[in-house]
Symmetry: C2
């Protein structure tokens, strides 16, 4: 028996996604739930990174995960194994999630008692970057086998992300990947971005990502109090 | 000095892309130019595969290459090094090419004296599968580091492709990739698809892909004669 549900989400009816994303952010602020949007190409290691990150955070934060895919439930099944609250979203062929689709997911997940919800967006380095999901922060993964030239070809994703995880560093000897050149290209697009090299396979760097998340959630909660 | 041009293509005005794709196919048939559409995730190895494939085909076919990217000209620069005719297309942020965008590229490339034009589509496992480019055949690459579960998550791309190259097999020892499970998932979606394991890095399997292309071009030219 599965410990998660699969939800078919509907295409949005809102014309102004940016406005709707701001509304969702305000709704989540009221509930005290921090939303993190995780994006990457297919196969860059989002789900494996999440399983390790959940383990690193589970004593500090109550976490819910939304797995968005065009089809299948393999990712939700993997996350369910960690014991975290999880839901599988099917996008009906859509290549990204917008704010209203994210809201449908959150309503089905339920936020009661949660501190942090992580949306694993559809694997796609192009379209998800164009749609604000209502998240507080955007995280992205670039994996070593994809190559260090990706910031040149897909600049928007690197521009709108707050943190870049460079994954599969355990396989760096196998591939020509120039970390310094990649970092320089990314920083040129987005000087404020934090870059964290990780291996979701070995766990290297995951602690640093977990610390980054905790820091963001803490700062955001403090903003809450100041405004309240 | 570069030996290629960079063209900014415009968004299409045609409402019915399928009809327009059929029209483009007919136009190209009249010119005797076979169009192959090559798709994959970012970083799966499209450009490296093309450089090796051009080398394997250059005595048999006159080849033109269209490199489609949101930004940069790194791929056209790489292909120009092979001596093949090449043009860089910028999609203006678009995540895929449709038939009219492809036609704009072909007009700028010029087909005089060419037997085969290969379109390297935008790196994206979702959207390009939804738009017929006017190609005679669709080729796709899945790379080993992406994982064997991708046919489950991105079924349309595997369904509409005529040939699947499984690339980076030289790195197979580094990653958990079950070839038989992957092939079974793909064949369930698309029993007629041809699956060719390759390593664009070492050149393994490229001859088989080159033979596949030659066979397709030959069959298509024969169809031409029979109808003429």
């Amino acid at each position: 028996m599965d410990s998660f549900r699969v939800i078919e989400i509907k295409q949005s009816v809102f014309a102004d996604n940016n406005k709707d994303a701001d509304a969702l952010r305000a709704e989540l602020k009221q509930k005290g739930v921090f939303l993190l949007n995780l994006m990457s190409s297919p196969g860059a290691g989002k789900t494996t990174t999440l399983t390790k990150t959940i383990a690193a955070l589970k004593d500090d934060l109550k976490i819910g995960i939304m797995e968005a895919d065009i089809d299948s439930d393999v990712d939700a099944r993997t996350i369910a194994g960690t014991g975290a609250k999880v839901i599988q979203l099917h996008t009906g062929g859509m290549c990204h999630l917008d704010a209203d689709m994210t809201r449908q997911g959150i309503r089905n997940l339920g936020t009661e008692g949660l501190d942090l919800v992580i949306l694993e967006n559809v694997g796609n380095l192009v379209c998800p970057a164009e749609f604000d999901t209502g998240s507080v922060k955007n995280a992205m993964i670039l994996s070593v086998p994809e190559g260090d030239d990706k910031p040149l070809k897909y600049p928007l994703m690197f521009t709108i992300s707050d943190v870049l995880l460079i994954n599969k560093i355990d396989a760096a000897d196998y591939f020509d990947f120039d970390f310094d050149a990649c970092a320089a290209r990314v920083k040129k697009l987005n000087p404020a971005i934090e870059i964290i090299p990780i291996s979701a396979k070995t766990g290297e760097g995951i602690d640093r990502f977990a610390e980054w998340i905790k820091r963001q959630v803490k700062q955001w909660n403090r903003q809450e109090e100041n405004r309240g």
